[in-house]
């Protein structure tokens, strides 16, 4: 299958575009539930714990950010007509600038930054790279996510 039939016009037009931004309230019970689901070793969602540990406010487990899901871009990609139908996560990365705390309002924007075609044993594979920005209520970018999705 030639490359340009995989990197469709519709896909090209999505590259560089920001998704609609979604804003989430970082709720204590939600953080607790997430921390319990991943067996997070410390009760970081408890004020008493954070004070004793000298944290400046109640922080969240680092991967809690994945729960702040902005699926707008993902849904667009999923619904787009394309010859390759299977889509799986290829990689995930989080870069932290500031701690995320219970009570924060985090705005999440997802951007498709790059689309490439790679050869694999069973044929060609599309690699979709996106960047997710997490911005708090003070306008500070607290973290960036870099993910790839594989389509084959």
């Amino acid at each position: 299958m030639p490359e340009d039939s995989l990197i469709t016009e519709e896909l090209k037009q999505l590259v560089g575009q920001n998704s609609e931004t979604l804003t989430f309230s970082v709720d204590k019970q939600w953080v607790r539930r997430f921390a319990e689901a991943i067996d997070y070793p410390e009760p970081v969602w408890q004020e008493e714990y954070s004070q004793n540990a000298n944290y400046d406010g109640v922080v969240v487990p680092p991967t809690f950010l994945c729960a702040l899901r902005n699926d707008n871009l993902r849904k667009k990609l999923h619904d787009m007509p394309h010859p390759l139908r299977t889509m799986v996560n290829g990689s995930s990365e989080l870069v932290f600038n500031k701690p995320v705390r219970v009570g924060d309002e985090i705005s999440v924007t997802d951007t498709l930054v790059n689309v490439t075609v790679q050869e694999r044993k069973k044929g060609k594979m599309l690699v979709l790279t996106n960047q997710v920005s997490y911005t708090n209520q003070h306008g500070e970018v607290v973290a960036l996510g870099h993910n790839t999705a594989l389509r084959f």
């Binding site: 067996d39 997070y40 991967t63 994945c66 990689s91 995930s92």
Partner: protein
């Protein structure tokens, strides 16, 4: 509670304590609820098997979370996770062991921070590397 590691004491090649996890279908379901990731391969056994998998599998982000726990649990309260990333090369079926391993690859100072770079990875019970990655943490220094 493990002792706080100090940057001064870290040596390149040093290995971190191994964290062994064995996510049950219940834990995977709890993670689906808490994260909002409801792909069927994580809770519908028939669907997973029809998709060519041995059964329901742990979410990539659940495995990534375990790997993060191995790092944050080691770096202590004065440690700061700066960056962590992984590639999903293999899957982890429910009920099977996941070994979360890590090793120091580099120790350096930059921008007034004392940093340690880690190679992180998971192995399944057959010893196959399933999810390789890396992390950077800042550690405190002794006075």
């Amino acid at each position: 509670m493990p002792l706080q590691p100090y940057w001064d004491d870290i040596t390149e090649g040093q290995e971190l304590p191994v964290l062994v996890k064995q996510p049950s279908t219940q834990q995977i379901a709890k993670f689906a609820g808490a994260s909002g990731e409801f792909a069927k391969i994580h809770y519908d056994k028939d669907f997973a098997i029809n998709s060519g998998l041995p059964g329901v599998i742990a979410h990539g982000w659940l495995t990534f979370s375990f790997m993060t726990n191995a790092v944050t649990g080691w770096m202590g309260k004065q440690g700061m996770l700066k960056k962590i990333g992984v590639s999903y090369r293999g899957v982890h079926p429910a009920g099977e062991d996941i070994y979360c391993k890590a090793k120091v690859t580099k120790k350096y100072a930059a921008n007034n921070e004392h940093l340690v770079e880690l190679e992180i990875w998971t192995e399944n019970s057959k010893g196959q590397r399933t999810v390789p990655g890396s992390a950077i943490v800042a550690l405190p220094v002794k006075n």
